[in-house]
Amino acid sequence: MAKMQDKVMIRLRDVDKCYGTNKVVKSLNLDIREGEFLTLLGPSGCGKTTTLRMIAGFEEVTEGQIFLEGENVEDKKPNQRDVNTVFQNYALFPHMNVEDNIAFGLVEKKVKKPEIKRRVGEMLKMVQLEGMEKRLPAQMSGGQKQRVAIARALINRPKVLLLDEPLGALDLKLRKQMQFELKHLQKKLGITFIYVTHDQEEALTMSDRIAVMNQGILEQIGAPEEIYNRPATKFVADFIGETNIFEAYVEEVMDGRIGISLEAGTAAVKAAGFHKEEMVYICVRPENLKISAEPVIDFNIRGKVKEHVFIGSVNKTIVELVNGQELKITTQPDVELLSMGSEVNLFWNEGKGILLHTKEEQIYNLIENTVKIEGGGDD
Amino acid sequence: MKLKRKLKEYKPISVLYPCLVYLFLYVPILVVIVFSFNTSRMNIVFEGFTVEWYFKMFENRQLMDAFRNTLLVAFFSTVISVIMGTLCAVGLYKLESKIKNIISSSLYIPIVIPEIVFGIALLVFFSSVHLPTSMLTLIISHITFSLPFVVITVRSRIAGFDPSILEAARDLGAGEFRTFMRVTLPMIMPGVISGGMLALTLSLDDVVISFFMAGTESTTLPLKILGMVRKGVSPDVNALSTLMILGTIAIMLFSQMIQGKIEKSREAHSGVE
């Protein structure tokens, strides 16, 4: 939850973006705090890059406002905004060497030559490219180009750095290394980073907060642990990490506990805010799903062990339920595996099952909440 | 707010300027066409609409001869350069030797050197072998400057070929010739047609080389007009020119259409993949 003393760096208010009749961002509300590493995460076409480009000023908002430090930036061109972008394909000027590329922004600001030289030196040191001043972009590796792009943006001392899938073109190993370096850099500089990616693992490792987007809608915003452990929607649960999702029906509402029935049996979850006879989803992460040969209290889900897959650090077991649904279960290598084809009972720690409203229920709740908020906004 | 945004996007100069350039390019062409329908003999004022020049032009023997020559040269040079060029392009595709590079680079010579030099070189050559300028020399010269364009166009079509298709044809029992007729040729046909269109327009468009190659009996329509301009031109020339303009435009549009079809079929293919 947002702390009151945190200063809001960028505020998006009811931002819409349309291309013709195609609405790619739908009434987006987002507060980005000073000094935080915020990731916009979502599948391709979810509107995350468009959002970033609206903040940078490359795209105009169709409706709504964007505030940078409380100031509406609608009429400000990209070159008048205190934000800089690291582009997906680096967008280094091919005819300029490393030094000229990095110095570009300062030259435009008519900063004095010795000052430029000093600051370019600083930047090169920071991104560990000393001695490469005279190289052309074409003579550099992907990782090096990436560093130049970052240095070129940061030398202008922007209040916010926007990064559009900056590591997408790098190979896995280099990407891991750059993730670490970027995070480190951000901590050191204390600048707000807004990072766009479709790689959920990248988002989880680097971010202070993640904003998950889907089809132009902000699905959930929160710290990585929150997003992973308490997904707010089915989409988030499905998109972040692996998960088993069941359609279910609220059978019984007890104090802090809810009894549900699935197609393949019955189960119980710790949850509140649901009402009897509601259609729900229940999500359980593979590492939280457990199997036992013996019956378990409060749970009655039966299946058959179909397959064991060894995937390095853990074992993965596939269990087929009576209705044909397949579940993924991960166990530590030291846990003994049940033999293939054996009948098993499935269960989970009641706190680890995540209960979600279905879309219809969500809309219903949303309307209810909006009424509440607007009613409460007067004081 | 929305209106302001719309106004920002609308820049009159980005519409006005291209229109002016197009006007500059098309006005002389339109003038030629408009005066072909003029009742007055003089190309000064439009006095009234008539199509009589489109009939009168048939009576002008010299003009008709020149027009016929233009068409004959265009036809023969296109056919011959397409046959030779296509064979060459297919042959080059299979060839793996130094000759390939030699031919590929010598193909660019006629494209690069100034036309006037090319024209006089052929003139000097023909006169040294005692071949007087005639329809024959005209056709030879047009083949020579069309040939490289045909080879290049067809080659670019073959470049995307999967060599195993030809191997498959051979494997299924087709000989070299049958493979060419049944597999290679149908596949490169769009390239052959656009190469042919190019050769045809190049031939109709040429002035400089034809100028040196045409004999008194084998002048082409453009050269005839060049000779007439200073003495004064009658509107039947406009009528014939209009036909040539429309013909060229038709050829261009046709080859654009084929180009469009090729792209579409390529997209369809990549869609399957």
Binding site: - | I29, N43, L87, S106, T201, F211, M252
Partner: protein, 284 residues
């Protein structure tokens, strides 16, 4: 051995005709021109087999030098005018919406393929002393006496620009279109104004296109003798007319050949420069 030949025979049949055609009608004639430029002319308008550098020496006569400088100046003016008119135009096409772009390019190509004598004849009709423009201007009362427009140096320049403009625009368009828009966004993002984005990014990156367009305008402009005849009335002599006359009327073949060699050398130098610019671009 025979078997090997049999295997190669189809390829020989395919490539052979073009190969020999190019040797016979391109390489040999060009060698003839080179050879003749080192021979001497005889009194009957033919060539004597006496080796000499006379024709190259003749090139330095002041009347020829004047024609050279005049031609180069005209070609330079043509090229620069084409660039000035063509660059903004190419830029606007490159930035036009994709569906409109196709037609805009096609509309540039169309006149380019129509025989240029017919098009120049159109100008001739417009510009003549008793032509369309003069008639219109008098009828509108703007002028009382017809203007001398045709058969002037200005008319020649107009004809040249008109004929060669598409040659300039197409390479410019290709190079402008190739620029990655994210580069322009990056420049704006780093604080560059529109003007400095153009000067520092667009212009340097389209340099190869500017160069290609210039060459494709400059080289043919040297040989377009018929434009100076149709638009200039042959009043001013240019290198193209000079070469043409050496072969058709003056019958000084060695001199004409030497002039052609000069043209080829100019072409080769420009091509060399161009490939250098091109390779610079590839590196980037």
């Amino acid at each position: 051995m025979i078997k090997k030949l049999g295997k190669k025979l189809p390829t020989i049949v395919m490539i052979g005709p073009t190969f020999f055609w190019l040797i016979l009608f391109v390489l040999i004639p060009l060698c003839y021109v080179i050879g003749i430029s080192f021979l001497t002319k005889n009194a009957y308008g033919g060539v004597d087999g006496i080796l000499s550098l006379q024709s190259y020496k003749d090139l330095f006569q002041s009347e020829y030098l004047k024609i050279f400088t005049g031609s180069l100046w005209l070609s330079l003016q043509t090229t620069i005018l084409c660039l000035i008119i063509g660059y903004p135009f190419a830029y606007l096409i490159a930035k036009a919406p994709a569906n409109r772009k196709k037609y805009m390019v096609l509309m540039i190509m169309l006149p380019f393929w129509i025989n240029s004598i017919i098009r120049i004849y159109g100008w001739n009709t417009l510009l003549r002393t008793e032509g369309v423009i003069n008639h219109l201007l008098i009828a509108l009362g703007i002028i009382s006496k017809p203007l001398e427009m045709l058969y002037t140096d200005g008319a020649v320049l107009l004809g040249m620009v008109y004929d060669l403009l598409p040659f300039t625009i197409l390479p410019l368009y290709t190079s402008i279109e190739k620029i990655d828009t994210s580069l322009l966004e990056a420049a704006r993002d780093l604080g560059a104004t529109k003007r400095s984005t153009f000067m520092k990014i667009i212009l340097p990156l389209t340099m190869p296109g500017i160069f290609a367009g210039s060459i494709q305008t400059f080289i043919p402009s040297l040989g377009l003798f018929y434009i100076s005849e149709m638009m200039g009335g042959g009043k001013t002599m240019y290198i193209g007319n000079l070469i043409k006359n050496q072969f058709l009327s003056a019958r000084n073949w060695p001199l004409g050949a030497a002039l052609s060699i000069i043209l080829i050398i100019i072409t080769l130098i420009l091509m060399k420069l161009y490939t250098r610019v091109g390779s610079l671009e590839d590196m980037a």
